[in-house]
């Protein structure tokens, strides 16, 4: 029997729960996701833990479409999840959008 993968869209709450230019971590159904709001108005969601040593990516510095982990400065592309230091490492990414001032995250 083939399992059917369902994509679920979850409301994370108010957009303002993530200050402009920063990130915050959310726990959705046991899954930790870091949500980022760069100053250009875009939104990104990636796995919350740095693959290097589990650093909290949501506390990292965001610039354009990148985040720098606060523990050892590993840098990731928020759109693709690619890591600058180690191409074999990649973050899991999640679709995210806003509607009516609410953050809507899609989990597959």
């Amino acid at each position: 029997m083939e399992a059917v993968m369902e994509a679920t869209e979850v409301c994370l709450g108010d957009v303002e729960s993530v200050p402009l230019g920063e990130g915050r971590a959310f726990c959705v159904n046991g899954l930790s996701v870091a949500v980022f709001r760069p100053r250009d108005g875009s939104l990104y969601a990636v796995q919350a833990e740095c693959p290097h040593q589990g650093g909290p990516l949501a506390e990292g510095i965001v610039g354009g479409c990148s985040v720098i982990c606060p523990l050892h400065s590993w840098k990731f592309d928020l759109a693709t999840g690619a890591c600058t230091q180690d191409p074999s490492q990649r973050l899991r990414t999640f679709p995210i959008r806003q509607a009516g001032g609410r953050l809507l995250l899609t989990i597959v």
């Binding site: 059917v4 993968m5 369902e6 994509a7 679920t8 869209e9 979850v10 409301c11 994370l12 709450g13 303002e16 729960s17 993530v18 200050p19 402009l20 230019g21 920063e22 915050r24 971590a25 959310f26 726990c27 959705v28 159904n29 930790s32 760069p38 100053r39 250009d40 919350a48 290097h52 040593q53 650093g55 909290p56 949501a58 506390e59 990292g60 510095i61 965001v62 610039g63 354009g64 990148s66 985040v67 720098i68 606060p70 523990l71 050892h72 840098k75 180690d86 074999s88 809507l104 899609t106």
Partner: protein, 810 residues
Amino acid sequence: MDDREHLVVIGNGMVGAKVVEEILARHRGRFRITMFGDEPYGNYNRILLSNVLNGSQAASEIFMNPLAWYDQNHITLHAGVRVTGVDRDRRMVRGADGTEEHYDRLIFATGSRPFVPPMAGADKSGVFLFRTIDDCDAIAEYAAGCTKAVVIGGGLLGLEAARGLLTHGVEVTVVEAAPHLMPQQLDGEGGDILRATMEKMGVRVLLERLTTRVLGDETVTGLEFREGEILDAEMVVISCGIRPNSELARDCGLPVERAIVVDDQMRTSDPRVFAVGECAQHRGMVYGLVAPLYEQAQVAADVLTEVSPNSLYLGSRLATKLKVMGVELASMGRVGDLQPGDEVIRYAEPAAGVCKKLIVREGQLIAGYLLGDTANAGTLTDLFQRGADLPEKRSTLLFPGDGGGAEDVRNIPNEALICSCHQVPKQKILGAIGSGRCSISTIAACTKAGTGCGGCKPLVGELIDAYAGNVTPDPRDSWYVPGVPFAKPELVREIRARGLKSVSAVFRVLAGGEEDAGSKIGLASLLKSLWNDEYEDERDARFINDRVHANIQKDATFSVVPRIYGGITTPDELRRIADVAEKYEARMVKITGGQRIDLLGIKKEDLPAVWRELGMPSGHAYTKAFRTCKTCVGTEFCRFGVGDSTTLGVEVERRYQGIEFPHKVKLAASGCPRNCAEATVKDIGYVAVDDGWEVYVGGAAGSRVRAGDLLCKVRTQDEVLRVTGRFMQYYREHGKYLERSPAFVERIGIEKLRQILVEDSEGICEVLDTEIQKAVDGYVDPWLEREKPYHPAQFTGQLIPEAALLGSKS
């Protein structure tokens, strides 16, 4: 459970660490890795030990992989644990402390140990080997109390040791058994010239002396040679070559001849077990120089990771340089192995200390040395290592200017190795130059060339001179931050001229709207120093520590250090700290080096309540700012005190708390010259003397230890505060971002600082005083944000939304 194959490496020297680096570079995550090393350190560049002995480098500078490297790469390091046995049936390695590790793959990188020729009494005190950092320290320390030292062994390392001992102010004699110095590399003619050069330098040389006995009761007093001759000595350094550490391999049944026998893939007779480095014997050869050993490490890594399973090591041709200050010597192969029919090309100029000799066999350079003039050593070494055909006119080899132009680095072929330590060919260096890297350090950063023994740095410099003329240096090298295309002076000018007061404004106007994460913190620091209270602070341009005023830890909790002025607290404060630590479940309560108390393991969301209940201001332990002023009890209690160090420390800390700098700033005040507060290794330190205070700046006791420079001596506490403020403001204005005070003081120079800050040679002292006063007046305790956060979400930790299901799509 980690089910990856387990790789165990015995040996944590240069080659052991290199093979692991090469494995990680090929396939990170391929193995779970465990290393044993019998020195209690990370790994260091043994080649540079002679620099440590002669004082041109600090021991801390020669470390290659600090202990943190092992951590970061998830390598288990048993540092200081000698391996006592290997059981190949059970595939177990056993350490002296009882540790047992099961392996799937095993690498012997056990290296070698100094060879001590048979002589009586070599165990007397005052007799040293020269192999490890500890040996170096012990030699240097012992030399301080001696006037006469003898080095047994006139080879490469022995001469380096002799030169190193000279810098410790002792008379040095080198004793060599052979008829000339460096018998491995030189012949009699070259050896004689080298001897004259060494003697001119102050090293006495005795040849054809075989030491049979070390004289003295418990401590060495001299040496006796075979013919009965006696030489006085207060200390002796033995440097007579090395012997491979291969007993462990022999004991577990692996074939060992002169060393552990390996095939062209560095594998022993057991397919799971490899050997690399000075402990390995390959095609009858045992190598002791770093370049061939690194090559072996690369082949072993290729094979172990299966990235290049057919990789082969086919042996090396040995070339080396002597690193003795004042002696130039490059050597290739062994000039002693002369065969009938060999062509010998030689030139000698004994008065100038110059001797060059090349042995040519079948049109190829097979050995040679250049003594006293090594200008074209790079070219010759390359011809030697590649076995290349030589020019018809042989004189051009020795005299490059003579029509052949052999010294012209442009004639070095592209594939020739420039850095043999890291196997960097010329074309890779040209690639780096072509992309705009026009300094030895930037080329080192991108190619590693010059970071092994450092011997190729002059050649890299020549390549830059020869090739960089047509290249524009990569302007990015000069940018203040990587994401905004201006060097600091232009950037400052643009920011001022356009009135850019926030980080986002700089990106908008000067970087085409492109934000760069790696540039934000540096820009924020610069803007704040340029605009002070007019700076528009955007919190997203701050590092997390500066957003929440606490220091992030590896588990994403925070450390909280309240300010304890001058290290003086009260029972009431201690009670509050204890209550808070219990209530908020601090996982550790730690007394810091700065005489304060650190609460570790605090959750981000608890920070405001922790601060409120402590009722103490921030200690700024998380940021680039004034940290503490450590004190001793001074005249208040100490029977030796001559100055009131506690009052001074508290006053300094109250006045300058929280002021931001290019880097952190730590202070101390000692109440007498016994200096119990260690004030002379602080960024700013005060030592009380009979009639006032000495003020020191630029001290450090971190990764680098530096005694501060005496800036001035003043009479009163007010004067101390004033000159401190001036130094601080000048550092704020002229320090580079992340430049700590020792580097700053060295860059400006203590004389100049004294003229500017004490003698007011530039007439700016009044301005400095005014500006620092503004910073003092502008201070606000950041922990007050507990009541007024800059954003409602400033201290939120992980959020758990009410997971309202809005719908689903397939």
